[in-house]
Amino acid sequence: MTDTLLFKDIDEPGLNTLAVYEARGGYESLRRALKMTPSEVLAQLEASGLRGRGGAGFQMGKKVSFLPQGSMNKYLVCNADESEPGTFKDRELMQKNPHLLIEGIVIAAHAAGADRSFIYIRGEYELQADILEAALAEADEAGYLGERILGTEHSCTLVLHRGAGAYICGEETGLLDSLEGKRGNPRLKPPFPANQGLYQGPTLINNVETLSTVPAIVQMGGEQYAKLGVQTSTGTKLVSVSGHVQRPGNYEIELGVPSREIIYDLAGGPPPGSEIKCWFPGGSSSPVLTADDLDVPYDFDSMAKAGSMLGSGAIIVVDDATPIVELALKVAMFYRHESCGKCTPCREGTNWTVKMLQRIDSGEATPMDLDIMASVQDHIIGNCLCVLGDAMAMPIGSMIAKFRGEFEQHIEAARASAELTLAPVPDDERVLAQEAG
């Protein structure tokens, strides 16, 4: 990888301190950005084509431009909840290079006209939060934060807020509610946060990685940045590779490289003797892909075309020794546990799916149950208040579609072993159950 932007100096000892960061050219982008007008910075962001790195992949420049003009309280919120299973890129960024994030936030706040900003960090990231706190104190001391930054008109306060460990608080509106001190439930959209976000004010919400990319864009220019990657997926991306690979970890890649390159060349592929059964290209909420899809370029549009999504850029590799039912159950249980319960399809659908998968595993299901389960996933997708329901339904649905044979085998095998080990189910109950099914 030639063009590393975010991980350029990532292994430099002491990069988390202001002195080392400045010695490596830190806060130069901020100085440059503050000499520009907000609209000039915004123009650079729009030219860069930078898409959000949190999961939805919405163009950041466009998001900033949606904020209403005028003097009102505007907010910038950095989503550092990083709760998608398999994702750990923001953790490394914040732990090793906190000032990059701070610099990115101040520049983005300048572009958005926001003078109050927040980092909502997940509660489990205690170490990273401590490091960020220390970095914030340093940045504040050095005048990179607060009133009249570096003697300019731009002011920006930055508050670090620790979450309490709910997946749903990584959803932007759930995050806002949580930040306001309420129960973290997603809000109805519209209104979108750009219009009515935190405390009903216009709010820009971006992921840690997105905001950390901003200094590089200011430094190299938006157009130059756009030359990286492919047409609609510009720049570099941090990829968290985990699961059955020999060298799991975070890698910075240029968007558009073949997925095989990431999984095999960078992460070393599955351990010897095992093959890839399936892989999640963008966290556990993305539909699974199989070994046949390894040559799909790793960028937003190619992934969408392949029937999945880039998501947060977390590749989870599953080898052929893993039973698909077990994988599905694990995923479904996570989302059932994390469903906030506000909307019906997600609350009941995740619960029902888990119960059905458990039934399959305990030998109390028939292949007909697979049809029910598939249709339940269809009924969840697109019908929920936020995307949490989809986050379970999409991978589960894709697993049933792609590994139906294995599900059926599992059902038959589990039934056979249940009949050997368990007392037989009374006939009348079974008849009732089948009628109901």
């Binding site: 059932r336 319960g341 506000k342 609350r347 009924h379």
Partner: protein, 797 residues
């Protein structure tokens, strides 16, 4: 504050073009085309939609995903499908999801038959369930509060009750605990949900999860009849729908009328209905099956069965709260018992007697006292009853000592000025005003439902709210001025007690001056709103139950004594008989109890000295038990037919829902029969005649019909002939505002009065005289007596 003025747009729904107000939510807009989109969580009264239940998913052309109809504002040219296969499947799936954990125990569920979940399952559901796994279980039912049982298994987590608690009543007690499929509704700390408006959540619940403990298992929807009426337990006069089974009121529900109550009820109005029941059943209610308690306080457990929750104490119905019982009053053992036959004091004891005997005895007492009779009318009395009472006193007995205000009279012209139609704020103004000043009143006690309206104004329209109490006129002025900076639409809500007592007239004048200074009369959406001390205080006054005013606040023939003076005169022996129309001045909760400057003994002495006390009462309260000679059973509001007048001037009909308890007769009929026995025919033989007489006698009610009042009521200030009369006196200049408006009212009194023969009294009421003191007023009143009463007398006979 600007009221919403929606533009009408055209959109297409299911292939038909439909006109609807722009930006109405699709669910509402669809109704304009007779299309029903099913909803559970959507309830506009609760504020912004939350889109939680997903039942209302519809397809909108140009938008990929299905959208929730409850949260999508309709736009011109929008094309909506509610019957496409995609929509049907989505709606069917939501019903299926909702029923996964629902116990489907409809045959034993109170909600069965009137249950949105049931209806929607039939209408939009798939008819079968594919769910064969075990359902979620909770201990049930639990006592959410003394009045409400919660069944968490039936709950579909629609958030309505929680939103009500958080965003309407703002008591912040109900929350959803846990997460996902384990979520359940509870109070935050597990303590009972005790709040003044808690009962509304029962009605909001779209399933049988929240049920009324006193209604549980008492009736099924096919056993009951609905009867619309108006609750007269407090001045708020909320519109209600009584659930009647076998001539018994089983339940009180709200009957939506945005201009009165916004569709809410207070717990008192909702749960006090056992007191409305027929006599034989009005004792202690049948025991409610005990259920498991959510909380730790067993003492509170049984409260709600017969009484309102402690927070919603009644100020007007002495008999429901039971302070006298707590006092250990020997006579109060009957308290809480309905009187269902005439009672006569015989040998020191009250004994049931026949109507003939009771009427005869009352007639003897009153005849003996003659014009030394005084009368008070209070809480439950309708306009007609008040009107006939004042006729009984003035025409039959020749006494002017009749009062419906507890504490001192105001000069008659002050009454008129305060009733200036242009100065009257209406309830919905409380929501949209820039500022509201609460003057000597506490809405949550005096007229509870207004509390919710004020909260709505503050929450949704950033209305400013201030309170002033204690009659500090400087503070009043200062606060009003400060509030008026927020905007010109200022409403002053004032309690009757502000203009009561010795300083009453001076304060009322100050209030009027302040209103003139702020041009409240000339500002749309601004004005004064008085909360009377008794439920129908405004109506009784307008019907002429005042010592110095006849019907329509006209000057009385002769000034009588006000309530305070009546007490004094009775004690001094100058008056001998007292007629109490639903008043007991010795009952602690009766506004009249404070009428002798808070001196309980003054009324005790007065009743002691009175040679005859005749009363109409629903319940045997301590003063009556000890002092009344004759008690006529009075109907509760569920048994009455007549009109009442809301504090903002809205005439509303009280409709009979059940037959009178026992031998109870309508109040108007009792008064008419009594008058006949005293030698004067009031010429009233039906309740409609009583209403007609009232409408004919009060100039600004003139021409009204019961049909026009209907189920929603009519504000007399908004009626056409009054508007015309006011239009004549239109004045832009601040200083003249009051004067002009007042003379307009004066004109309307006389011009619209049928059979008016003498010239209008507006000359006597010229602007110069208006600032005079009470003494002058009396003279003025005497001057103008020649006209008014003689006219009305002539017209009646």
């Amino acid at each position: 504050m600007p009221r919403p003025e929606p533009r009408t747009i055209t959109f297409t729904i299911d292939g038909r073009e439909v006109q609807a107000p722009e930006n109405a939510m699709l669910v509402d807009a669809a109704k304009h085309g007779d299309v029903e989109i099913p909803v559970f969580c959507y309830e506009p009264k609760l504020g912004n939609p939350v889109g939680a239940c997903r039942m209302c998913l519809v397809e909108i052309e140009g938008i990929g995903k299905l959208q929730t109809g409850c949260s999508t504002p309709v736009k011109d040219g929008m094309v909506v499908h509610t019957q496409s296969d995609r929509v049907k499947e989505a709606q069917r799936s939501v019903v299926e999801f909702l029923l996964i954990n629902h116990p489907l125990d409809c045959p034993v569920c109170d909600k069965g038959g009137e249950c949105p979940l049931q209806d929607i399952s039939f209408g939009w559901g798939g008819g079968i369930s594919r769910f064969i796994e075990p359902k979620r279980h909770f201990v049930k039912p639990l006592e959410l509060s003394p009045t409400i049982a919660i069944d968490r298994e039936r709950c579909i987590l629609c958030y309505r009750c929680v939103r009500f608690s958080q965003e309407v009543a703002e008591d912040y007690q109900l929350v959803l605990l846990e997460r996902g499929a384990h979520s359940f509704v509870s109070t935050f700390d597990g303590h009972p949900y005790i709040a003044p408006f808690s009962g509304n959540i029962i009605e909001l619940c779209p399933v049988g999860a929240l049920t009324s403990r006193s209604y549980r298992f008492r009736a099924r929807p096919w056993d009951i009849e609905d009867a619309g009426s108006v609750c007269t337990l407090c001045p708020a006069q909320c519109n209600v729908q009584l659930t009647v089974r076998d001539e018994r009121v089983m339940r009180v529900l709200s009957r939506e009328n945005d201009e009165v109550d916004d569709g809410w009820l207070c717990d008192h109005g909702r749960f006090a209905y056992p007191a409305l029941a027929r006599g034989e059943q009005s004792g202690p209610a049948e025991p409610v099956a005990p259920i498991e308690v959510l909380h730790v306080d067993p003492a509170a457990e049984r409260n709600g069965d017969e009484e309102a929750t402690p927070d919603s104490e009644d100020t007007s119905q002495p008999s429901i709260a039971a302070p006298a019982v707590a006092n250990g009053d020997a006579n109060s053992v009957h308290l809480g018992m309905r009187i269902s036959e005439p009672l006569l004091r015989d040998g020191g004891e009250l004994r049931p007697v026949s109507w003939e005997r009771a009427l005869d005895e009352a007639a003897v007492l009153l005849k003996r006292a003659g014009n030394a009779t005084a009368a008070l009318a209070g809480s439950g009395a309708t306009n007609e009853e008040g009107f006939l009472l004042s006729r009984l006193l003035s025409e039959t007995l020749g006494s002017a000592h009749v009062d419906s205000r507890a504490n001192g009279a105001l000069p008659s012209e002050l009454h008129r000025e305060l009733a200036d139609p242009r100065l009257q704020a209406k309830v919905s103004d409380l929501e949209f005003a820039h500022g509201v000043l609460l003057l000597d009143c506490d809405p949550v006690i005096d007229a509870p439902i207004l509390d919710l309206r004020l909260r709505k104004g503050v929450r949704r329209h950033a209305m400013k709210l201030e309170r002033v109490a204690g009659g500090d006129l400087d503070e009043l002025r200062e606060t009003a001025m400060r509030l008026s900076e927020a905007g010109e639409e200022l409403v002053i809500v004032w309690g009757e007690r502000f203009a009561s007592g010795a300083a009453g007239a001076e304060r009322a004048r100050a209030l009027l001056d302040l209103a003139a200074e702020l041009s409240l009369a000339d500002t749309a959406g601004a004005g004064l709103l008085e909360i009377p001390a008794t439920s129908n205080g405004r109506g009784l006054r307008e019907a002429g139950v005042l010592p110095n005013c006849g019907p329509g606040l006209s000057d009385a023939e002769a000034d009588g004594l006000d309530a305070r003076a009546i007490a004094a005169a009775l004690t001094a022996g100058e008056l001998s008989a007292l007629y109490l129309l639903e008043v007991d001045p010795l009952s602690a909760n009766d506004p009249f109890a404070a009428s002798a400057d808070g001196d309980h003994d003054a009324w005790a002495g007065a009743l002691e000295r009175a040679s005859g006390v005749v009363a109409h009462a629903t319940l045997l309260s301590p003063g009556l038990a000890e002092h009344a000679n004759v008690i006529f059973p009075a109907g509760s509001y569920a048994e009455k037919e007549g009109t009442v007048t809301h504090p903002d001037g809205r005439l509303q009909r009280v409709r009979r829902a059940v037959a009178e308890a026992g031998a109870t007769r309508p109040g108007w009929r009792v008064i008419a029969e009594l008058s006949l026995r005293l030698g004067s025919d009031l010429d009233v033989y039906t309740d409609k005649e009583a209403s007609q007489q009232l409408f004919d006698a009060v100039p600004f009610y003139s021409g009204l019909t019961l049909e026009e009042i209907g189920g929603r009521g009519v504000r007399w200030q908004e009626r056409e002939d009054v508007a015309v009369a006011v239009g004549g006196g239109d004045s832009e200049r601040k200083g003249e505002a009051t004067t002009a408006a007042e003379s307009a009212v004066d004109d309307s009194y006389t011009q619209s009065r049928p059979g008016a023969q003498t010239p209008p009294s507006s000359e006597a009421h010229s602007g110069a005289d208006r600032d005079t003191h009470a003494a002058d007023t009396q003279t003025e009143g005497e001057d103008s007596t020649g006209g008014d009463p003689s006219q009305s007398g002539g017209e009646r006979t």
